[in-house]
Amino acid sequence: MAGSETRLVAGEGRGVSRREPRSGLAVALWATLKRDLLLLMRRRSEVLNPLVFFALVITLFPIGISPDPQLLATIAPGLLWVAALLAALLSLDSLFRGDYDDGSLEQLLLTPQPLPMLALAKVTVHWLLTGLPLALMAPVLGIMLSLPAGSYLVLAFSLVLGTASLSLIGAIGAALTVGLSRGGVLLSLLVLPLYIPVLIFGAGAVQAGIVGDGAAAHLAILGALLALALMLAPWAIAASLRISING
């Protein structure tokens, strides 16, 4: 308890020389990334859940419909994309829920660091542990649906771009519904309409990859959607979190 006086003075000194916020922001962002990664690594079932869901859905389709490779190849692009989209949606509800329940979210909102950037760090972790693994898994599941050989790379790449947009857009919905005790259904209703453009161009890219023409255009639009989401979503997430905490 002794020495608090010197500490307070030190604190005041930092207040004066606080014109080095960039490094402070970098430290905070890096720590938030590391903390969230660590948290999710310790609760692996939460990370595995969407991946298992994705694999199960894709496995069941050939059994349920028909093992005919021709038929499967026609529906494969849409099927893979829809399943990946729903898997990503499944994992969204927990994005801010834990932080809200234990009071960390309040603390996040009261830091002098810019909230949009911190929210972006949290979304990045979500994407790294759901979107990216989904994209990497998709080609393997594509084999099961006898997806034509040339389109695997396009599939994975379209999912890498697309799921990043899905994470960003979904985080807005997750932030808006975090204060509600059963916000899961509302979250889906809020977010799904915004997912549709990503789904159209994502599945379109794979379709075009199979035909062998025009995949680049679809991927470019997916990239544009991601750029737009990257620009706008962090601010929308931050505002939504403020609204949720206000309630």
């Binding site: 500490r7 720590a31 009261l110």
Partner: protein, 215 residues
């Protein structure tokens, strides 16, 4: 150190009921301000308004003379808020929990400071135990370690004594007084009776609360 937090004509309505109206507050450096009142009288709401978390109120807030809207960044850099929920992650160890708070405050990674902070709240030997396995009081102590770890002049503490044992309560009370004497400022709600000192000031809420006496 000069700091002042002023509220002018503060009023807050919840569910068609005024929690408080025309509340004027003047909080200066060197003060411990205890917000009192029965359950449901709006203590937590007032603390949330004063710490800039709620925007749903009438009246004006001033930080060091400047309106809160303009001074928000400077205000947040001076504020340490501990809420009802301790903000401690059960899956992380106390040390890892504090790492995040240290970084959020913009400080460089400094394990010695974190260990010292944990020692000051009596958690030596629990640094690497997942916080979920600690008792409620110990988890609260992890949160309280932030008082030492990230020095800020203004402390806003919502029921900080919850689940803390008798020795811990005495130490924390002493800590609040030391902080106020060093020029800091403490805003606190608690049902624990604080020792009367020169620093202590009371603000009573409660006309709006419906349950007086009885239970």
């Amino acid at each position: 150190m000069t700091l002042s937090l002023q509220a002018r004509k503060l009023a807050c309505e919840r569910d068609d009921r005024w929690l408080f109206e025309d509340l004027d507050l003047d909080i200066q450096a060197g003060e411990i301000v205890r917000i009192e009142g029965p359950n449901g009288s709006g203590k937590t709401t007032l603390l949330k308004i004063l710490s800039g978390q709620l925007a749903d109120y009438q009246g004006e807030l001033y930080w060091n003379g400047a309106p809160m809207r303009e001074a928000r960044q400077a205000f947040l850099e001076s504020l340490l808020y501990l809420g009802h929920a301790p903000g401690v992650k059960g899956a992380l160890t106390p040390l890892e929990n504090l790492t995040w708070y240290q970084a959020l405050a913009g400080q460089r990674d400094n394990e010695a400071a974190r260990l010292a902070a944990l020692e000051s709240v009596g958690l030596v030997g629990f640094e690497d135990v997942p916080a979920g396995q600690l008792s409620a009081g110990q988890q609260r102590r992890v949160a309280l370690a932030r008082l030492e770890l990230t020095p800020r002049p203004l402390w806003v503490l919502d029921e900080p004594f919850t689940a803390i044992d008798r020795d811990g309560v005495a130490a924390l009370e002493e800590r609040l007084i030391v902080h106020a004497r060093a020029g800091g400022c403490v805003l606190v709600t608690t049902h624990h009776e604080l020792r009367n000192t020169d620093e202590l000031r009371r603000v009573h809420l409660g006309r709006g609360g419906q349950s007086h006496g009885g239970f």
